[in-house]
């Protein structure tokens, strides 16, 4: 009996951890999917934005002595700006000249390497811990399970940011324009939307969301230049949910977070990454276009 209740407690705890981790993946995956839905290419530099966000927060806290609110704001804006600059420098010249998305994909691969190695060279490759600005003390959930304040906080913050994104997309003029562009960027351009500004806004939003993810991930795993590699999981989540679909990205992320934490809790924490990739394989075999993906057909 005792063992059963212990099993239940572990289960609840891991579910909460999984939701928390999954919601952080969702912040990253949603930004990535948003870019994909408008420009139809996988922005592999997305992980770089996350790292920029993490280091910006670290620098604001450590060097400027700012409080967590100011530091987070600087981190979001900083990552957003880097995302916009990345787009202007590396993607805009390409997308204006051709519609071969493979070129954009390769350029984003290059930008990902550039951002990561700029940090390696100028900041150093060592692992850094963020100052203890986010509480990580244990919290008891109605006596059923214990979890950490950090997990609850990251879950709440993710929900808030995803909600804000939803409101932005549904209720504002630019949100409407972005949704129209996701349907067809060229038509949006013909309808008088400033396409370059629109793309910049999309990148700013994606970069800022990645920065939120970056702050939470650098508390969870410490901060280092290769932290952006974790976006592989957000990419996988986006594919499981269906590339370009925002609800799909959220659902895929939650599934991944839960699968990872339950594997860690009940089987072995070494196998969690393997479980992630097995989920990818299963999805591609059963429903290749993902849970919410639609089969896009080209005009002939």
């Amino acid at each position: 009996m005792k063992e059963v209740s212990h099993g239940l407690e572990t289960f609840l705890q891991q579910v909460i951890n999984g939701l928390s981790l999954g919601s952080v993946y969702a912040l990253i995956a949603v930004g990535y999917s948003l870019v994909y839905s408008v420009l139809l290419f996988s922005n592999f530099a997305h992980g770089g934005f996350l790292v920029v966000g993490g280091y910006a927060c670290y620098a604001a806290l450590k060097v400027l002595g700012a409080n967590i609110w100011v530091a987070s704001a600087m981190s979001l804006v900083g990552a957003g700006i880097v995302a916009v600059v990345t787009e202007r420098l590396a993607y805009k010249p390409i997308r204006e000249r051709t519609n071969v998305t493979l070129y954009l994909l390769i350029a984003s691969m290059g930008m990902s390497i550039v951002i990561e190695n700029l940090f390696v060279i100028f900041v150093g490759g060592r692992f850094r811990a963020l100052p203890p600005v986010i509480p990580t003390s244990p919290v008891s959930l109605f006596g059923l399970a214990t979890t950490s304040a950090f997990d609850l906080l990251s879950l709440v913050a993710s929900v808030v940011f995803l909600g804000a994104l939803q409101i932005f997309l549904l209720r504002t003029k630019w949100g409407l324009a972005i949704r129209a562009a996701a349907y067809d960027l060229r038509t949006a351009g013909l309808m008088g939307v400033n396409v370059n500004l629109l793309v910049s806004i999309v990148f700013f939003v994606a970069g800022a969301l990645a920065a939120v993810g970056g702050i939470f991930l650098s508390v969870r795993y410490t901060l280092y230049p290769q932290l952006g590699g974790i976006t592989i999981k957000a990419f996988v989540a986006a594919v499981i949910g269906g590339l370009g679909s925002l609800p799909g990205a959220v659902v895929g992320s939650i599934i991944l977070g839960l699968a990872e934490m339950l594997t860690a809790g009940f089987i072995s924490s070494q196998l969690r990454d393997l479980v992630v990739f097995s989920l990818l394989v299963v999805t591609l075999l059963v429903k290749p276009s993902g849970l919410f993906g639609k089969n896009v057909s080209e005009k002939v």
Partner: protein
Amino acid sequence: MSGYTEGIIILLCINAIAGMGVSLLTGFAGVFSLGHAAYMALGAYTTAILTVQYSMHWLPAIVAGGIVAMIVAYFIGVPTLRLMGDYFAIASLGLGEAIRLILENWQSVTRGARGYPGIDPYTTLPVAVGAFLILLILMFNFINSRYGRACKACRDDYIAASLLGFNTANIRILALVLSAFYCGVAGALLGGFLSFIQPVMFDMMKSTELTAVVVFGGLGSMSGTLLGTLVITLVTELFRPISQYRMLIYGAVLVIIMVIRPEGILGNRELPSFFRRFLRRDS
């Protein structure tokens, strides 16, 4: 010839074999992979295990390494290559990492993350050069055959290709499987050259390097890939003292090429016709 020069030539041959494989897939069939280092790993480990554990002769063991990579590629390709575009890129990224994780965790067979030592140094200069020449001839024959034209048709316009009676999914799978064979053989040769392999040698950075070489040389030009291999392998040797800048330069080169000249050094031309054009422009 000094040992150092010999080593560089062997390394050039190995890199060129892997580069030709990726070039076929990305440059000729238009499929972008981010996980081809995993096929090198499969080839390297298969050959290492067969030669060390089962004392097989290196020649059939290398071929077996290539074939194992092909088989895995087939099972990865069938579900993913029916989809267009980025699904395969992300799937290949995920599966590449998965294969590396399996190699790291399957201690009893692969000896885990610390690596697999004691491989017979079977990759001598003649072996490397011989393998390179044979695979080079087969590759050029392939792209100058009906299969090469089919690949290019799928790359340039897959809808038009299917409306000319091509089964585009099968053609992409064929290109993937062949490219996996080339990478598998390259990995097997690398194991015999270094006498030691480790899962971390075949990570995402290695996959990126493979793609960088192909893009640098020119998508759709096999001789461009060879030229790219030559340049990048030699530059890497030169930059060895400041190796932390190496990856930065790789990344920047990828971006700059895409922005300035996305078709790479040679464009989609092979060397002879490139020179012909170049001379004509001169005169």
